[in-house]
């Protein structure tokens, strides 16, 4: 089972929101072609219109899958505990290629946890360029490494500080010393 398929969650809130966001982005690009000369706009329009239609189709399928799963769950309420969720899972499986373990609407607690951890990871990643912008490209990543290892990975303080020191030495050594890449200072002016 590939990672791409392992994650398939047809009909989930996330899948619907993501498809809707892609559709909104495509429509925004389609509208942006309105200001262009006809010859510059023709190819983007030829691409964007079918993409928008396909996204509408996918969004409809996602919404239908969710509605069906909700109906099936409601219908399953009167059955025995062993049967609960069977039809809902069937719907999800029919939408996602027939593999087990690809349940519908954030079916399990672990999937909800995964979503929360995913959001947290994105926030942590955003902190990396933010640290580099504020503290420069040497101190920023080093501080970020220390923070990650200490607060996210819960590593021992000695390991954390050693990793931060390695980052602070390796980054300028490799990029500036060896390759001649100019690493800018941060807004706070540290580490020229």
């Amino acid at each position: 089972v590939t990672d791409e398929r392992r994650h398939a969650t047809t009909g989930s809130v996330g899948a619907i929101a993501f498809t809707a966001a892609l559709l909104a982005g495509t429509i925004a690009l389609l509208f942006a072609t309105g200001d262009l000369q006809p010859s510059a706009a023709v190819v983007p329009r030829i691409v964007a219109i079918p993409v928008a239609l396909l996204l509408c189709y996918r969004l409809t399928r996602e919404l239908l899958a969710r509605a069906r799963a909700a109906t099936d769950r409601a219908g399953a309420g009167s059955r025995t505990a062993g049967e609960v969720g069977g039809p809902a899972v069937d719907v999800a499986l029919s939408q996602s290629g027939g593999r087990a373990g690809q349940g519908t609407v954030e079916a399990t607690g672990s999937r909800t946890d995964e979503g929360t951890r995913g959001v947290a990871a994105v926030v942590w990643l955003l902190a990396l360029p933010a640290a580099a912008t504020a503290l420069g490209f040497i101190a920023g990543p080093a501080v970020w490494v220390v923070a990650w290892l200490r607060f996210r990975a819960h590593e021992r303080l000695a390991v954390t500080l050693a990793a931060g020191a390695v980052a602070a030495v390796a980054i300028p050594g490799l990029f500036t010393g060896l390759l001649g890449v100019h690493l800018p200072t941060g807004l706070l002016g540290w580490f020229i």
């Binding site: 996918r58 990643l125 580099a132 990793a163």
Partner: protein, 495 residues
């Protein structure tokens, strides 16, 4: 015709393997290997950085160094692609599609060994074709024009049908979005600014390096963090890893047909200016997927590693053909090489292919040597490198994220590229989570500019009577090839 070429080849070989000349390709290879592991820094960037070093050097030494720099980066970029889902150089992006899932299954050693073997043999294939075609190439290359480029781009775009897994609609949307984003920036025909929304940064279009680093490397760090996986391979000790290096080497020989087809694809694409290694890698990977009857290519199949790696290295030989014979650079790397040759008074074309032929062969042998050195060095460190796949992910994420961020910055020196990489990291994670093909997206992103520019040029040339599209044999041959290879694929697909 053949005798002078063979004697020049022999003379060039002697020049490379004499002391102290041998030091130049060896040193160049070592530096290229280190740089290729750092994402965002391509062999071309290193070649540009080395230009000031070579002022005052003997032209022979310059050719030896640059031959090594051109070839040394290709294989090592696949090491990070396989182990960490980070394409060391853009052409290695196709390798991670199957290479990384193999590492996740604990078969990193097999994948690395297959990659090293395919690289070494692929480069040999490319160099042999280069030597064989050198006398003929001056007649062929000038006949390739916008219609042929257009058909090659269409071939690549239609090949997306092979790589889509699951919903065809989702795959087509992903490709369409990739195409749309490739239109960002100046329209090359009308100079209209498209989809820049008033920002200066987007005027040059999206750079593929931060996009690749975000979609694959940073998306992977988010996924590793979100999934809570302890290690990439799911094993905690190196002894638990399956797959042996020897299996990877044998796999290349067992898939000899695929290797030859993909090396040919790489060499031909390498010859055509403007296509480059990234296109070669994806087209070759598509060939592996197209001929796969088990449906396993794309989810950790050794053939998905052999195909792009053989094409990537074979294209180096191919790319030297138009560069040396016509002075037309076929890639960024050969463009820098051409500039360096000009600086040192080496003029490509008739002069280089007659009086300067031993010098040209010194370059070719240096390229060949560097490809073998990197592959042999790679094979020798397969075991220690595979340890990365049993490292705790919480310790692995910081170096991946920092390297990806610095790689995104180092490519053009723009802070905005770093933010772009993070943005595409989040997008890549969501695409992975909700099963939208990232490969279709990047293929379309890479091929988009080639497709649009040559579509417009072909239409104009046809309209003004400068070409007769259907009287060109190359157009007919390419159209037939596209029909033969893509119609059966699309016919098999369900909506």
């Amino acid at each position: 015709l053949i005798q002078p070429i063979l004697s020049a080849a022999w003379e060039g070989l002697g020049l490379v393997f004499s002391w102290p000349n041998i030091m130049y390709p060896v040193a160049g290879t070592v530096v290229a290997m280190v740089v290729a592991v750092l994402p965002g820094l391509s062999g071309a960037a290193l070649m540009a950085l080395a230009i000031p070093l070579t002022f005052g050097w003997d032209p022979l030494h310059v050719m030896l160094l640059y031959g090594a720099l051109l070839g040394g980066a290709t294989f090592m970029g696949s090491v990070t692609a396989i182990l960490l889902n980070i394409p060391g150089t853009a052409p290695n992006a196709a390798t991670l599609i199957d290479g990384y899932p193999m590492a996740c299954k604990g078969q990193a050693r097999t994948a690395l060994a297959a990659s090293a073997t395919a690289s070494a043999l692929g480069s040999t294939f490319g160099v042999l074709v280069l030597i064989a075609l050198l006398p003929l190439v001056t007649a062929i290359i000038p006949r390739i024009g916008p219609p042929e480029y257009l058909l090659l781009a269409i071939w690549g775009l239609l090949a997306i049908g092979t790589i889509i897994r699951g919903s065809v609609a989702k795959g087509l949307v992903a490709a369409g979005l990739g195409l749309m984003l490739s239109f960002i920036g100046f329209d090359m025909r009308t100079a209209d600014l498209r989809f820049t929304f008033g920002t200066l940064y987007l005027q040059d279009g999206l750079s593929v390096v931060p996009v690749f680093l975000g979609l694959f490397a940073l998306a992977e760090t988010i996924d590793l963090s979100a999934s809570g996986r302890a290690t990439i391979s799911g094993r905690t000790r190196v002894e638990e890893l399956g797959g042996r290096a020897i299996d990877g080497i044998r796999a290349v020989y067992r898939n000899g047909g695929l290797f030859l087809r993909c090396s040919t694809i790489g060499t031909v694409i390498g010859m055509i200016p403007g296509l480059g290694g990234t296109v070669a890698g994806f087209v070759a990977w598509n060939e592996a997927a197209r001929t796969d009857r088990t449906g396993s290519v794309g989810s950790g199949d050794i053939r998905g590693v052999i195909a792009p790696e053989s094409a990537n290295d074979a294209k180096d030989g191919g790319s030297l053909l138009p560069t040396l014979a016509l002075g037309i650079p076929a890639s960024t790397g050969t463009a820098v090489l051409l500039g360096v040759m000009m600086i040192h008074g080496i003029r490509p074309g008739q002069e280089l292919l007659t009086e300067g032929l031993p010098l040209a062969f010194a370059l070719i042998w240096a390229l060949f040597l560097s490809n073998w050195i990197t592959s042999i060095a790679g094979l020798s460190v397969v075991r220690p490198l595979s340890r990365l796949t049993v490292m705790k992910t919480r310790r692995l994420i910081p170096p991946i994220a920092v390297l990806a961020m610095l790689g995104a910055f180092a490519f053009r020196g723009r802070l905005a590229d770093v933010w772009l990489a993070v943005l595409f990291g989040a997008l890549g994670y969501l695409m992975k989570k909700y099963d939208w093909s990232r490969v279709a997206f990047v293929m379309a992103l890479v091929l988009g500019p080639l497709f649009e520019l040559n579509l417009q040029l072909t239409i104009d040339l046809q309209r003004f009577g400068r070409i007769d599209l259907w009287s060109r044999p190359s157009v007919l041959i390419l159209t037939a090839l596209i029909a033969l290879t893509t119609i059966p694929t699309w016919a098999r697909r369900r909506p």
